[in-house]
Amino acid sequence: MIHITINGETRQFDQSINIAQFIDENNLQGKRIAIERNGEIVPRSQFTEQFLADGDRLEVVVAVGGG
């Protein structure tokens, strides 16, 4: 069991998954999002290469209305 903090909330995963799998499991596929992992941008091209590890901190963002 690994623990990952996503947008400030801690979640549990049974095993290490890659970012692409994380996106699929959370209905984020096809959406315009950007992901930061432990303070570093994860380029879209690395979504299948990067696997989540225990203690990771993810930020998943979208564009919203604002001035």
């Binding site: 984020l28 315009r32 999002i33 950007a34 380029p43 879209r44 998943v60 564009a63 919203v64």
Partner: protein, 264 residues
């Protein structure tokens, strides 16, 4: 053509608008169209994870293919948060470099923290961002931001969302006179005359959100703002007449006025 040029790109409209505070994306889109704006600000926020799968996305209503999106750092109080937010924005928008930097210093006034703003601008410029920067109306800070390499200086006219208008035209004038990059009033415009005054001072553009979104009829106000910015710009280019204090000057000929039988 009298175009606005920012970071080498040419824009016909000198009005930049935000996308916040509208009742829905349909109203957002209608107001933006009425405003004629080409540069549209957006905020970057955490998304809902695993819920609201069908939530509408702002970028479906204002697609990057039709507008120049200007991601901002609204809500950021540290240079670290601001820099991280814009790195995420660049990834989100496929390498798009034009950004609006603001680092706030106080949640009540939303006044910018200029020390953090300047440090963040230095980092972002080094990383290749084209930084349009929100600043206090301090001419020294404005000049420092220009020297760092910011592509546009955007002083407040009054507090964000206050609608108080142009409170210190003299400071804006100093900033405009000393800048070699575009100066845009960002924040404080309340109604069309405020936008016209900013442009008459010689601002290169005006950025606003609440003045349109919080109007009783946002789409009509967006149209008014478009005209006000154009009118103010034309008045600035035309060069206003000199003010004559205590001296009237008739517009009609003084000769040939008909006289009554009693006079002369």
């Amino acid at each position: 053509m009298d175009n606005l040029i920012i970071a080498g790109k040419t824009y016909a409209s000198r009005l930049l608008v935000g996308t916040g505070k509208y009742k829905d994306f349909t109203e957002t889109r209608a107001a933006i169209e009425a405003s004629g704006a080409e540069i549209i600000t957006v905020a970057i926020r955490r998304t809902n994870i695993g819920q609201h799968a069908d939530e509408p996305n702002l970028l479906d209503s204002v697609p990057p293919s039709q507008f120049t999106l200007l991601p901002n750092t609204a809500g950021c109080y540290t240079l670290d948060d601001a820099v991280r937010t814009l790195r995420l924005a660049r990834e989100l928008l496929d390498g798009h470099n034009l950004v609006k930097l603001e680092v706030l210093g106080n949640p009540e006034t939303l006044y910018p923290n200029m020390v953090e703003t300047i440090k963040a601008a230095e980092i972002l410029v080094k990383e290749g961002f084209d930084v349009m920067v929100y600043t206090s109306d301090d001419p020294i800070a404005a000049k420092q931001l220009e020297e760092i390499g910011c592509v546009a200086i955007m002083p407040l006219a009054s507090l964000i969302g206050s609608g108080m208008g142009i409170l210190n035209p003299w400071n804006l004038q100093i900033i405009i006179d000393n800048a070699k990059v575009p100066v845009l009033v960002d924040a404080g415009v309340g109604t069309a005359s405020d936008a016209a005054i900013a442009m008459e001072l010689g601002c290169d553009g005006v950025l606003m959100n609440t003045a349109i979104a919080a109007a009783q009829n946002p789409v009509l106000m967006a149209s008014a703002m478009r005209k006000a910015v154009e009118a103010g710009r034309e008045a600035y280019l035309a060069g206003r007449m000199a003010k004559k204090i205590y001296t009237a000057s008739p517009s009609s000929p003084v000769e040939g006025v008909i006289a009554s039988a009693q006079s002369k």
